[in-house]
């Protein structure tokens, strides 16, 4: 069984290759495949036990490729393979001369294999995989390149509905596996009780119904099926009547033991099935395209099948199986007939057809055979099925209404079948006579064979019942069901009803045109509230909502994005704080010191000034002021190193900022007053949160186990008294190394961005700025100031290990000095002054830092272990590898700062 599936998939993959070289041979090979499968299946008829086969697939998810062939699978797979064979024969002729037929046959074979896999699968996930494969291949078969907008829309719709249903089905299957504890269908079907009592049952049912209804075109999803009629006719015959659309029915039948028997099952299926049955048969009436007629009558048949499964008695299930069998045979045949007519006279419009019987006798013969089954004429399988339906409905408790509805629907179906199988051939053509000739045998043969099969199976109905229908019913109900079927029951009420239906249908048949006009008008009015319209409206509505949302939230304004993030964060943390049982234990109020008040006041005033300033230069300057004030706060709380770095960084940042900002225009007020009010509120809420958090953190008595360690070990282990610096260059030297590397990347990044493909003429020259500040005093002063600053920076670097200072601060001071020089004199002069380009300085700094750490390795010590010379040198003091490391930091910081400066300054230069 598995081998058959694999060879089918393999064949479909290899076929296009083979077809290119040996077209004839490969086509024959293709025909052999469904024959082989049919033979395999025919030999399994009347088997005693189901055949099972299994391969492990995803053991960790308890999913296996398991298959099981029982009565139900057998009847479906027989239909799939036998009709598949006929379709292949038919399509070989029908599509002669079309482009890309190789691909078409390959997809058709893949579809056939997927259908077989679907009905053989004994694992929910395996089933789902094949289920989706049928959807995908069906899309591939529906065709390419539709010039017609309507056809495109319909194809997308069909795809959407089945894909959506597929996803819903997946949910149902996952939930079902969860409820049953296994994905094996045969095991699940033994645990029906468990599943029906599970509280997941309603959800499971809903999801699986969604999957089955979409696939089997049940109301309100039925409209995709007529829409999909743009497909080539062999595809419609195969997919849209005989096989794929029956997959939903198959699923319901397959899971019947696990899911059926509840009121929810019964009423839903009965209701939906009945509506679909009626809607399909009545909607078929106003159609004039042969294929559309057939599509709607297929919808009706599918509705009837769902309804029968909903009723769910032994008789109902038996009826369903017989009807399904009969329908697949005759409806497939009728589609092929419609295709044959289309092929011969290039129209499918009922209004233009007629009088083809003489020219195309063989097609007409096949059409008649199928048609008899379709209208339920004795002796056909369709007749048996219709008798059974009436028998079931008459026995129903409130049968009168149902009977009336069924008669109505069947009458309509009879009439429309007549329009397909009889009208084109035997009605006098009202318009100009059609030029027609008989098709070749591959086109008229398959429908005739299908029609004959319908008659043969009916003639030998007892055998059909016991060897095909019986086992299928048995596996649906999972209890032994002796099935005895007879062709002729005598003059029963069922027979009378059946006869009446045919006569009434014949009446409608003859008064087609006025009838069609009347119903067509009604239909047009109803379609304003039909499901198709609702579907379109829903989709439009969703799209409008999406657009609206984009305009409100995703409008491109950074402001909105920030507000969203801030508010969400405030809400998220605020709720958690409010929820906490203890609440906030904030520190007790202490009267602020004088300096605190002054500094806080300066910061606050500066913030207000920044927000309201309209000049960028002023903003930057005030920001610098804030930075300096914060440095003062550090100083006040006894962190001179931190303060120093902050001072240096602020200076540098202001210089860089000015270089960048110089070319930008003034701030524009683009927000309205209410918007600004909102901004203020959001800012206040964010600020309040952060203030609260800071207060909260500081209120906690905190004992670090790190601080004492560093303080105690700084001098003995690292020979330094400045703990901050020792941490940077010794204890956590590796982190520092990482940080200067990141700095280097940032500098190179800035450089790359600024230098990239710059159309230099677009920007005002940077030189303008530099020229502006050129006065006599500055360059002169700088000439003396710079060396002093540089010496000071080296001084900072060297004393750093023991006193306030260090490579980082030193580097920043040196960089500021050099920048000052660049501004006062010129960037070029600075470059000439430097021994190496900034980028090389970065590299050198990183190398020195890296190498200093490596010294330890030669002594067999870990990387970055500090090594010290035993005696202090005269000027430098104690020298060791951490000092060297600090030198690396020093150089790298200079390199980074200058690299950015040069990039910005040169930007407008050349």
């Amino acid at each position: 069984m598995i081998a058959l599936l694999f060879s089918g998939i393999l064949l479909s993959i290899l076929f296009p290759l083979l077809n290119r070289h040996r077209a004839r041979l490969s086509y024959l090979l293709l025909l052999v495949y469904p024959l082989l499968v049919s033979l395999y299946l025919i030999r399994r008829v009347n088997m005693d036990n189901p055949i099972a086969a299994s391969l492990p697939w995803v053991p960790s998810l308890e999913i296996s490729l398991s298959f099981r062939l029982d009565g139900l699978s057998l009847i479906f797979s027989l239909l799939i393979s036998a009709i598949g064979f006929l379709i292949l024969v038919y399509a070989g002729e029908y599509l002669r001369g079309y482009p890309l037929t190789g691909r078409f046959f390959s997809f058709l074979t893949l579809f056939m294999t997927s259908m077989l896999g679907l009905v053989w699968a004994d694992n929910l996930i395996t089933l789902f995989v094949f289920w989706e494969l049928t959807s995908i291949t069906s899309y591939l078969l529906i065709g390419y390149d539709h010039e017609d907008q309507q056809a495109r829309k319909a194809a997308l719709q069909a795809l959407l509905i089945t894909a959506g249903g597929g996803l819903a089905l997946l949910a149902g299957l996952v939930l079902m596996g969860q409820a049953a504890g296994t994905f094996e269908i045969s095991q699940i079907n033994q645990k029906g009780q468990l599943i029906r009592e599970s509280n997941l049952y309603p959800l499971i049912l809903l999801a699986i119904f969604a999957g089955a209804f979409t696939k089997s075109a049940q109301f309100p999803f039925h409209f995709w099926l007529p829409g999909a009629m743009a497909a080539p006719t062999p595809v419609s015959a195969y997919l849209h009547s005989a096989t794929m659309v029956k997959a939903g029915i198959y699923l319901l039948a397959r899971l019947y033991p696990a899911l059926a028997g509840t009121e929810a099952w019964q009423y839903t299926l009965l209701g939906v099935g009945l509506i679909t049955f009626l809607a399909g048969s009545l909607l078929a009436l106003p159609q004039t395209d042969l294929k559309k007629i057939l599509a709607y009558s297929t919808v009706a048949a599918l509705g009837l099948l769902v309804m029968l499964l909903g009723i769910g008695s032994g008789l109902a299930v038996k009826t369903a199986v017989v009807y399904l069998f009969a329908h697949s045979l005759y409806k497939g045949g009728l589609f092929l007939v419609a295709g044959g007519v289309d092929h011969a006279v290039h129209t499918r419009q009922v209004d233009q057809l007629g009088g083809l019987g003489k020219a195309m006798p063989l097609t007409a013969f096949g059409a008649a055979l199928c048609g008899l089954s379709a209208i339920g004429f004795i002796p056909t399988l369709g007749f048996v099925a219709k008798e059974l339906v009436y028998e079931l409905i008459l026995a129903f408790p409130q049968g009168a209404l149902l009977t009336a509805l069924a008669v109505l629907a069947f009458t309509a179906l009879t009439a429309v079948s007549g329009w397909v199988f009889a009208l084109p051939f035997w009605q006098k053509n009202r318009q100009k006579p059609l030029q027609a000739h008989e098709n070749s045998s591959p086109l008229w043969g398959p429908p005739a064979l299908l029609g004959m099969a319908g008659i043969l199976l009916a003639v030998f109905i007892p055998q059909t019942g016991s060897s095909l229908i019986g086992p299928a019913v048995e596996s649906i109900l999972s209890s032994p069901q002796p099935v005895t079927l007879k062709l002729w029951h005598g003059l029963t009420p069922m027979f009378v009803l059946s006869l009446f239906t045919i006569l009434a249908g014949a009446l409608v048949y003859t008064v087609r045109i006025p009838f069609q006009r009347a119903i067509g008008g009604l239909h047009a009015r109803l379609s304003a509230i039909g499901p198709q319209r609702l579907f379109d409206l829903g989709l439009e509505g969703l799209k409008k909502f999406a657009v609206l949302q984009t305009r409100i939230l995703q409008n491109g304004y950074l402001r909105i994005y920030l507000i969203t993030i801030i508010l969400t964060t405030v809400a998220l943390t605020g709720i958690n704080i409010l929820k906490s049982p203890g609440g906030l234990d904030l520190p007790a109020w202490q009267p602020p010191r004088f300096y605190d008040v002054v500094l806080a006041g300066v910061v606050l005033a500066a913030v207000l000034a920044v927000v309201s300033a309209s000049s960028r230069l002023a903003t930057v300057a005030i920001l610098g002021l804030i930075g300096f004030t914060i440095a003062l706060i550090y100083l006040l709380f006894g962190a001179p190193d931190l303060a120093m770095v902050q001072f240096a960084i602020e200076t540098l940042a202001v210089i860089l900022f000015i270089l960048v900002i110089y070319r930008l225009p003034k701030f524009a007020r683009i927000t309205s007053r209410p918007a600004r009010m909102l901004d203020i509120l959001v800012a206040l809420s964010g600020g309040a949160l952060v203030t609260l958090l800071v207060l909260w953190i500081t209120s906690r008595p905190f004992t670090s186990h790190l601080t004492p360690y560093f303080v105690e070990n700084s001098l003995p282990l690292a020979k330094g008294r400045n703990v901050v610096n020792v941490i940077l260059v010794d204890f956590r030297a590796l982190d520092t190394l990482g940080e200067i590397s990141v700095l280097a990347i940032a500098a190179i990044g800035v450089f790359a961005l600024v230098e990239l493909n710059l159309d230099k003429s677009l920007f005002p020259s940077q030189r303008a700025l530099i020229n502006k500040v050129r006065s006599m005093i500055l360059p002169t002063a700088v000439r003396y100031l710079m060396p002093l600053l540089l010496i000071f920076s080296v001084f900072l670097l060297l004393r750093g290990h023991n006193e306030v200072g260090g490579g980082f601060v030193g580097g920043l001071v040196a960089a500021s000095a050099l920048m000052l020089y660049a501004i006062a004199v010129s960037p070029q002069a600075l470059l000439r002054l430097l021994p190496a380009s900034p980028r090389h300085l970065i590299g050198l700094g990183l190398l020195v830092a890296l190498a200093s750490g490596a010294l330890g390795i030669f002594q067999g010590l870990p990387y970055m272990t500090g090594l010290w010379l035993s005696d202090p040198l005269p000027v430098f003091g104690k020298i060791g590898s951490p000092v060297l490391f600090d030198v690396g930091v020093f150089i790298a910081v200079i390199g980074v700062s200058l690299h950015i400066l040069i990039a910005l300054a040169e930007d407008g230069e050349s």
Binding site: R152, A163, G177, L542, F751, A752, M864
Partner: protein, 481 residues
């Protein structure tokens, strides 16, 4: 730092050293021969990939427990490195066409990957932050790589401003957690919370702030707003990398930090995680319906995919489901990475200079004229929907199953309904390619075709035998715990 430390993080160390060397070497490579830089960068990544794979999955700590290299890290590293290789393949021709050839592109890319790798190793909040910055800064620059293109500049600036803002929140979170537990190493935090000298509210608020920061990187609604703008503005080859790498890194941080250090927060955070997952799935999918620009469409799609990932993460605190949660997310990320990179390869093949060739109409007739590209794109769209036979199906299936197992059936159903909407916009691309007549022009760059082809084959091929990949994900998890 000892030699053992270095050997433990050898792949990362090699990559960083290689990248730095590349940065220097690139100075001497003439502008019209930057293909050499690309090749060297690819070689560096391949070397690192080899070293990572050769390391084995035995977990090892280094640098005093600051980093840990285990199966979890290696699994994700392979994703990062392979995505890096793919995005070099995507960039080579693209940069030339867009006239933005710069050697730094490759160095920055490699630095970003180093940051992502470091993120997977991180076993201490300080390292988490360091990694976050190391991976973010190069990405900020790369998003603005099309200089003088306003969209690109705007993208870079937005990404940078919002990114630093969210990094600030992460830093705040770390500070709060440190204040609450006096620790920054993940096991230490766990121990401190269990031994209960910690301030639990402060701890919770800290955790929430970290969640915000990581959600930003992973583009979780409502911290996603940068994503569509940045995805659209950044050069497509960068976007492709970012939508895989940055997202996976965000989720890597989320998984590592929350699973190791914050299991106790699970109960308090469940409603929050639930809400984030739900909003992300619904929102991402619905808004994507309105998109006609492929880059924006893929941006929203990637937001929606984050939602699915988040959904499986909700039950992370339940001991029984935990290993499934992590395995499902890792496994999904593989499929997501392959699908995303492949889809971007197609987008890049169709894209023209100055942001043309990105509208849905530009794909009309693509399937007819370039059957291979069309078929590959169809595979990717199906994989995004989660339809078999693609890896996306198994990934989504596993995520949903995990959510259901964790008891979040309604969330799973919500996600499913949302993904039904997604079918519309993904299939629209397919319909456009195959059913609308048109005369599209696509590049026949061999590297693009190779990336798209290999991804498509892998997406389909792995879906036929998902078992082995899944086992790898499961093993990666076992080593984490």
């Amino acid at each position: 730092m000892t030699l053992t430390d270095l050997m433990t993080i050898l792949p990362l160390a090699v990559l960083v050293a290689w990248t730095t060397a590349l940065l220097l070497v690139d100075l001497w490579i003439p502008k019209d021969r930057k293909g050499i830089t690309a090749l060297l960068a690819a070689f560096g990544l391949a070397l690192t990939l080899g070293l990572s794979l050769a390391r084995g999955q035995q977990p090892r700590q280094a640098f005093g427990g600051m980093v840990v290299v285990d199966g979890f890290a290696v699994f994700l590293d392979v994703i990062f490195l392979a995505s890096g290789l793919a995005s070099i393949a995507l960039a080579h021709d693209y940069l030339k066409r867009m006239n933005i050839v710069r050697g730094e592109y490759y160095s920055l890319l490699l630095y970003a990957i180093s940051g992502m790798m470091l993120m997977t190793y991180a076993y201490d909040l300080i390292i988490v932050f360091l990694a976050l910055e190391l991976l973010s800064i190069p990405l900020y620059i790369l998003s603005g790589f099309v200089r003088l293109n306003l969209r690109s500049e705007e993208a870079a600036l937005k990404y940078f401003l919002l990114g630093t803002f969210s990094s600030g929140l992460v830093l705040y979170g770390i500070a709060l957690i440190f204040a609450a537990t006096a620790r920054t190493d993940l096991p230490g935090i766990l121990a401190a919370v269990e031994l209960a000298p910690a301030n639990l509210t402060m701890f919770l608020v800290g955790g929430a702030l970290l969640l915000v920061g990581f959600s930003f990187k992973g583009a979780i609604v409502p911290f996603h707003e940068w994503a569509p703008d940045v995805y659209q503005g950044a050069p497509s080859s960068v976007t492709a990398f970012m939508s895989v790498g940055a997202k996976a890194a965000g989720f890597a941080a989320l998984m590592r930090v929350f699973v190791v250090a914050f299991p106790s927060l699970s109960t308090d955070l469940t409603p929050v995680l639930w809400g984030l997952a739900a909003v992300t799935m619904v929102f991402g999918n619905i808004v994507a319906l309105a998109q006609t620009n492929l880059k924006r469409l893929l941006a929203y799609s990637s937001i929606a995919q984050s939602g699915y990932l988040m959904m499986a993460f909700v039950p992370y605190g339940q001991g029984i489901v935990l290993s499934d949660t992590i395995a499902a997310m890792l496994f999904f990320l593989v499929g997501y990475a392959l699908t995303t990179l492949g889809a971007w390869a197609v987008v890049i093949a169709v894209e023209k200079a100055e942001g043309r060739g990105l509208e849905l109409q530009d794909y009309a007739g693509l399937g007819r004229k370039y059957p291979l590209l069309g078929a590959a794109m169809t595979v990717f769209m199906l994989s995004f929907i989660g339809a078999p036979p693609t890896l996306g199906f198994w990934g989504k299936f596993y995520l949903f199953r995990t959510a259901v197992e964790g008891g979040f059936t309604s969330l799973a159903l919500l996600g499913l309904v949302a993904s039904i909407f997604s079918a519309y916009y993904y299939l629209r691309v397919v319909v456009m390619m195959f059913m609308r007549p048109g005369e599209p022009e696509a590049r026949r760059d061999p590297w693009l075709v190779l990336t798209a082809g290999v991804s498509a084959l892998a997406v389909v091929g792995f879906s036929l035998v998902p078992g082995s990949l899944l086992n790898l994900a499961l093993q990666a998890v076992l080593k984490l715990l």
